[in-house]
Amino acid sequence: MERSILEALNAARSARRAAVTVSDLVSGGSQVYLEGDDCPAPWRTSVARALQSGRAGIAETEQGSFFLNVYLPPSRILVIGAVHISQALAKLAPVAGFDMTIIDPRTAFATPERFAGVELIAEWPEDALRERPLDRFTALVAVTHDPKIDDHPIRSALEAGCFYVGALGSRKTHATRVERLRQAGVSDADIARIRAPIGLDIGAASPAEIAVAILAQIVEALRRRDTSHVKGAIA
């Protein structure tokens, strides 16, 4: 592997960008392709598949044997709202391999007693997100029901190209949210990316069941995400 390839790969990893290396097993030459960047036609399909599955493996081609390794940033869930659903999600998310952080400026909700073992930030999302910017491998879950708290992080998540943006609320609540976002200049394409009502439609009733529905929807969004057209990619 050329030193420049190693450096490019490490830079991508530290920037939390997904990358695939293609190594010629005979000559030892390597290339690195970042998610969202242009990838030459012969590799487009196998690179996209590796990015989606996260699985490394050997590709046999007419040009010889190549090894595709894949480096995905650890996915994380950022929850806006220290509510009952978040308590259940905080228990489930680590089981599925996600780091989880909760932001809620309402200090009565955001108490360590209610959220043992999860990172909890009792600040306004505007302030908290300045310290820890959203990215493509973050799922945003907005569940406060309060536009003052939810709207800003939803817009930020759409801008950052988060792989999942979900918002709690009935269809009526969501309709008024869509109206506010439209007024604020958010495009219809972006608005269409918001999963609301939040969670897969499995008839979930209790907070724990809703948390399961949300988590399943997050996994689906991660594993079926479009790896070719990237919004919010770092140049």
Binding site: M1, E2, R3, S4, L6, E7, L9, N10, R13, S23, L25, V26, S27, G28, S30, R55, A56, G57, I58, F67, N69, V70
Partner: protein
């Protein structure tokens, strides 16, 4: 804790060692069969003096990989190494868990 983990990341180590002017090889698990302790894609980084970081086998074949890496560093020619229960060497190095692994060893160039 996250930063401590990053310090031990084999690819970060490989870059740091290269910057220090050390000769470096990277070993990568490219295929596994049966019960393999480290998944495909795992890395072990080795320098010209036999220092190493990371893992391709959970410890059982690393000694052999490190020895082969010295050749790769000297010659620049990449190698594919096979370890498995059917292989004499593998028994010697103790891959007794019943799996087989293939490891690609390459030098960092430039």
């Amino acid at each position: 804790m996250l930063e401590a983990a990053n310090v031990l990341d084999p690819l970060d180590i490989a870059e740091a060692w290269t910057k220090q002017g050390r000769k470096v090889a990277i070993a990568t698990v490219i295929e596994t069969w049966g019960s393999a302790p480290r998944p495909v894609g795992s890395h072990l980084v080795i320098d010209g003096d036999g220092n190493f970081q990371g893992s391709v086998s959970g410890g059982c074949v690393e000694g052999a990989v490190i020895t082969e890496a010295a050749d790769v560093i000297a010659s620049g020619a990449p190698k594919i190494l096979d370890f498995g229960v059917a292989d004499e060497t593998a028994w010697r190095v103790g891959l007794s868990c019943g799996g087989r692994i293939r490891v690609f060893v390459e030098r960092i160039e430039g």
